[in-house]
């Protein structure tokens, strides 16, 4: 278990240790989880805090991820503050219950340590797990590094439990790349965290026998659509809450977050759009090309669900050629999930930029600065010639 002293504010932790420590600081009422690589260490370390009496959490060891999410749903419906963690096949096994959690508007917070889905079986990073869940009604935040994953977890609690939102949140970080790499990060005091997240006060509880309620009742064509419409509106409105919570977080702790990070984008002519840890690698390529006088930039969406299409359109307005890098393939013969969303968002721009797609890093394949350079060089060529040779392709493959 990670040893974190009270006086030292900068510590070296893996992504998993940082999430486990953040969960300890949140001290949720209930955690139900089933271990799976590469997120295993989160619950392993959290159960250490539990065994040492450092949390007051009810820890439920279950027999599968389907049961884990089911237990989380029951506990959240009873009014508890609930957290869990998973990866890959574990998230896939939760599928049915993901929709139940979001449809019942339960503010569950889940760390998703991104890992490829079988088949072929692979334990390393890509985004095929959480991308598949992108339409499950969960808010999704993607984290570039350990610090962001740690910070996002607290903000996720606030976003999920906001009365205007009441929607579950996934905090995603890259498997092994972020989950197992030790990075320096600044941590907060328990008291600061308690003050920031506040108490969770549910408007109702399934266990309140004085005020009996029915949760998850059958609804027919006269009501189902109205309830989904409520959910849809809350999802769209949550975008503003994400910004609001980020603003308060910055005020308290000094680190700035928003819907996205725009890196050297102001005057950029060509731009790469990419999620999570690959953004860090891409920034190195941007710096190098900028030193050569090339007007290149990077957009790293932080909030992917709901999709902040207007803000993304605004951020990419000045670009002439854009490459969306997807760490998951939609297997639709067109392009990855981020690509189709970004391209759709840009449809309403006055001068529609060229938007190409490259699939990269599947099953943990390295994404290097050279890979990023190759993408930027292609974009610069497209900007000059106006010619797109391949709309969608696997990076570095024919």
């Amino acid at each position: 278990m990670a040893t974190v002293t009270g006086t030292k504010k900068v510590v070296g932790l893996t992504g998993n240790s940082a999430i486990a420590y953040a969960m300890k600081q949140v001290d949720p009422d209930v955690c139900a989880a089933y271990p799976i690589t590469p997120s295993t260490a989160i619950m392993e370390e959290f159960s250490g805090y539990y065994a040492d009496g450092q949390v007051s959490t009810e820890l439920i060891a279950v027999e599968s991820e389907h049961s884990a999410m089911s237990a989380c749903i029951g506990a959240a419906a009873a009014g508890a503050r609930v957290m869990t963690a998973t990866s890959s096949q574990g998230l896939a096994l939760m599928w049915e219950m993901l929709y139940v959690a979001s449809g019942l508007r339960l503010p569950i917070v889940m760390a998703v340590v991104n890992r490829a889905l079988s088949s072929p079986i692979n334990i390393h990073c890509d985004h095929s797990d959480s991308m598949g869940a992108r339409d499950s009604g969960w808010i999704q935040l993607y984290s570039e590094n350990v610090q962001e994953a740690y910070d996002n977890l607290f903000q996720a609690v606030r976003i999920a439990e906001d009365r205007r939102v009441l929607t579950p949140v996934m905090v995603c970080m890259d498997g092994f790349i972020t989950s197992h790499a030790i990075e320096n990060l600044t941590i907060m005091d328990d008291a600061e965290i308690k003050e920031f997240i506040g108490e969770h006060e549910s408007a109702y509880s399934l266990l309140d026998t004085e005020n009996p309620i029915t949760v998850g009742a059958m609804t027919l064509p006269d009501a189902y659509m109205d309830i989904k419409h409520q959910q849809s509106k809350a999802m769209a409105a949550s975008k503003d809450v994400v910004v609001e919570v980020a603003g308060e977080f910055e005020q308290r702790f000094g680190r700035s977050y928003g819907l996205m990070e725009a890196y050297m984008l102001e005057d950029a002519e060509v731009c790469v759009v990419v999620l999570s840890s690959a953004a860090g690698t891409t920034k190195v390529a941007v710096d190098e090309l900028r030193s050569q006088g090339k007007k290149v930039g990077l957009l790293k969406p932080r909030l992917y669900r709901p999709f902040p299409h207007e803000e993304i359109m605004e951020a990419l307005r000045g670009c002439k050629a854009i490459c969306v890098l997807d760490r998951a393939d939609s297997m639709n013969g067109f392009g990855g999930p981020l690509f189709t969303d970004i391209r759709a968002a840009l449809y309403d721009t006055p001068q529609r930029p060229v938007v190409i797609n490259r699939i990269f890093g599947l099953g943990g394949r390295d994404y290097t600065v050279e890979d990023a350079m190759e993408v930027y060089h292609e974009l610069l060529r497209i900007k000059e010639t106006g010619k797109v040779e391949t709309l969608s392709a696997y990076l570095g493959e024919d």
């Binding site: 449809g103 019942l104 508007r105 009441l166 408007a203 109702y204 005020n211 009996p212 309620i213 029915t214 949760v215 998850g216 009742a217 609804t219 006269d222 009501a223 109205d226 309830i227 409520q230 959910q231």
Partner: protein, 92 residues
Amino acid sequence: MTKKNITFAGIIFEGGTADEYKTGGWRKLRPILDKDKCTNCLICWVMCPDSAVIVEDGKMVGFNLEHCKGCGICAMECPDKVKAITMEEEEK
């Protein structure tokens, strides 16, 4: 729940509302009680999955046809020596 009164996430903020949802219309077979044969053993009341057997003062008095779905479990479970319940086709 009426369309004008959709609650948050479809939660029903009161208990026992299943009673208001009439499901008797699903029934194809209707249970008929022969009071002369019935011994009031109440096995039918125990076994009915829809709580549709009406008991008053410890005596079996009939069926709640607004909730009885005509499954026939009562007729099946009524002891062989008694057989006070028979299932008849619902009239079209």
